[in-house]
Amino acid sequence: MSRPAHRRPAYHKINKDLFVLTYGALVAQLCKDYEKDEDVNQYLDKMGYGIGTRLVEDFLARSCVGRCHSYSEITDIIAQVAFKMYLGITPSVTCNNSSRNEFSLILDKNPLVEFVEELPAGRSSLCYCNLLCGIIRGALEMVHLAADVTFLQDRLRGDSVTEIGITFLKKREEKKYRRKK
């Protein structure tokens, strides 16, 4: 039985500026609402989580990637397929430890900060793109992978590059089905 030929529907692309500006307006509003940077970061992460849980379905439907067999494969797909599809950039992937469950995505170009010159005064620990961390975390959780995603370095905070760290956590032990004897 042969599979039907794969047709790619014409996906409409809303102008990239709309998303970037909307995100900027959102962060500005959050900065007005919350005094502490941690609260803003947490809110962005939570929001990103909600987006990620839904975005992963869209991603899987469009990209038709196969099953992954290792964490490094997953990180490669996030960097080369997902980021490319949604943000048009391809971050580079590095592995941080020998047990191969900690990875870094290094973004040399971040479209979300296109219109941002610098963080405002008094907001030095704001993770402007924390939404991305939440999105990755939510998406991974929907495919049953627990991960910790944070910003290790951020150009807006003075570092040389923007680096997102993904740490895959141990899977929750699945209950083994026991046969009743």
């Binding site: 996906y11 692309k13 809303i14 949604y86 219109f115 610098e118």
Partner: protein, 225 residues
Amino acid sequence: MADEALFLLLHNEMVSGVYKSAEQGEVENGRCITKLENMGFRVGQGLIERFTKDTARFKDELDIMKFICKDFWTTVFKKQIDNLRTNHQGIYVLQDNKFRLLTQMSAGKQYLEHASKYLAFTCGLIRGGLSNLGIKSIVTAEVSSMPACSGVHVQNMQDCCTGTYKAMWFAASIPHHLYLAFLPCYPSQLLPLPCPSLIPPQQTPVCDAPLPVSMCSHCSTSAYE
């Protein structure tokens, strides 16, 4: 290229986030729409600057409205406004039969009352765009089960220095029709149509953004007071 899905999901999350914090009692319910609308306003200002960078000067208000219906709407929502009506006295009714931010929702009447939440941002988008093009407006949205009727009292409102037109934006949805109506009115005037937000004319949008998200020309003194 930010995909459409990304913006749609971000928009939905923004709406639910604003309303969730309202439930916790941090903000009054009525202010949620204003919050979303103000966010849309900032985005609209920035967007229109980028779109009209190289376009010719607009001849008149109708020209601006046509630009909004065709180019602006196409760039933002990838389709044109389906119908534009005007009474040539500052009232404009724009109709979108398949509004992209609502297509993901059930076509029946189930979520009709919630639909206005998802239009507040676009209200602000249009208002911001018009504001940077020199038109002060009040834009509201209405979603009803029948086409919006323009049974609204029209009164030309002119300032002594500049002619300003107040605008109203209606949206009706069957299943996803969107009516945008612009009409001159006094903000305090009682209108028979539900208005999610009425921005008083004295409230000049100020770029008080903590982040220099866009280098907006509005940062200098407003010429539209």
